[in-house]
């Protein structure tokens, strides 16, 4: 049951996160962001972090995401321009996907081989699901490598040659490097971080985490807590100062000016001659 909930929430979180990235319109993106916040709040709940889950909903969904929404709607973003820019290099996308699949296969093979050779020394993250995890890792490396594709394509001239072959080689090498790094970490680095293989049983917490959190926040971490408050205040001031502007020609009430005004400033006495009138002079 717990597994089903987790997988559901996790899948929904990832999907909505990807939707944030790929969404056509910024408004949709913000809405998907809100959705992913909600689902992660659910995952937080699974982890017994009910306070954080609430904060996530209140602060993120209630404040940050809405702020995003406001800004998106306030700004007059040229939709057509965005449409034009939505082209992703699909060809390299598929290439990278293929490569990731191959890498995942290689990874699995290497894992089983290493298991045969070194036995217990090789500690995979989870003995139960090497297949799932290796594919998740492959997808990750794929995502990073592919993500690096477009920005770094601007630097192609740094390569010895800008031919498609060279670029493909470099891309492959890049992805392999990332993947091999992650794999090495998983195979040999993990034990050095002393990750226990205990089953993480959801539920059955010894103490209410909200309780424990409040104890910690107001004792050990009181100064950082206050500091965070200061940061928030500064952020508010800064945001307001940045966005504040004086439009010329708009009449506003200026209290200081009103208070400083004296009789001499506004009153002038004159004796008009008959039939001539008074010439008005502004100060």
């Amino acid at each position: 049951m717990a597994g089903l909930v987790f997988y559901g929430l996790a899948g929904l979180t990832l999907l909505s996160a990807m939707a944030v990235v790929f969404a056509r319109s910024p408004v949709y993106a913000v809405l998907f962001l809100i959705l992913s916040f909600f689902t992660s709040a659910g995952i937080f709940l699974l982890l017994d972090a009910e306070f954080l889950a609430m904060v996530l909903v209140i602060v993120y969904v209630g404040a940050v995401a809405v702020l995003f929404l406001f800004v998106v709607m306030m700004l007059d973003v040229d939709q057509k321009h965005l449409e034009k820019l939505r082209h992703y290099p699909w060809k390299s996308f598929f290439k990278a996907a293929l490569r990731s699949g191959v890498l995942a296969g290689v990874f699995l093979g290497v894992f089983y081989m290493a298991k045969q050779l070194w036995g217990d020394k090789v500690v995979f993250l989870s003995d139960e699901g090497p297949l799932t995890h290796s594919f998740i890792l492959a997808a990750m490396s794929f995502a990073v490598a592919y993500a690096l594709y477009w920005p770094l394509s601007k630097w192609r001239f740094l390569l010895p040659s800008e031919s498609a072959e060279t670029v493909a080689w470099v891309e492959g090498a890049l992805q392999f490097l990332i993947f091999a790094g992650v794999m090495t970490y998983v195979l040999f680095g993990a034990p050095s971080l002393e990750i226990k293989k205990e089953v993480f049983d959801a539920g059955g917490a010894p103490l209410s985490t909200t309780d424990a959190l409040s104890h910690l926040l107001y004792s050990v971490y009181v100064i950082p807590f206050q500091g965070v408050g200061v940061i928030l205040v500064v952020a508010i001031v800064a945001a307001i100062a940045l966005c504040l502007r004086h439009r010329p020609g708009v009449r506003r009430q200026d209290v200081q000016h009103q208070l400083k005004t004296t009789k001499e400033d506004v009153l002038s006495l004159s004796q008009p001659k008959v039939g001539k009138g008074v010439e008005w002079t502004s100060r």
């Binding site: 944030v20 990235v21 904060v55 702020l67 293989k197 959190l213 952020a235 940045l242």
Partner: protein
């Protein structure tokens, strides 16, 4: 099927990767980058929380809380800058922000 720590870690890694992907691949607007940043921070938060649960310590959640606040502040200031920038340039297109770059023929 038991849900292990690793499942949570993989989820957070995936979230983080999607965030990175969004930051890097988004050729759209600054807003997309900011949102992707939020996703990355969410992934980090998830790691903190799952480890805190794993170790039976709440300290991780404290940090998570701090991250949340800082992220909120960052989002506020980022959006403010975005607004000012938009007022100035009438665009928040990343591909338009190349005035600092080297002009290449």
């Amino acid at each position: 099927m038991d849900i292990t720590l690793m499942h949570y870690l993989c989820l957070s890694m995936a979230l983080f990767a999607v965030g990175v992907f969004g930051v890097l691949m988004a050729r759209k607007s600054l807003i997309h980058i900011l949102m992707s940043l939020e996703l990355m921070l969410l992934g980090v938060n998830l790691t903190f929380v799952s480890f805190s649960r794993f170790h039976g310590e709440v300290t991780g959640q404290v940090f998570s809380l701090f991250i949340l606040t800082v992220a909120a502040a960052e989002a506020a200031i980022g959006l403010a800058i975005l607004v000012v920038y938009f007022r100035e340039k009438r665009t928040i297109q990343i591909t338009d922000m190349v005035s600092l770059g080297e002009k290449v023929e």
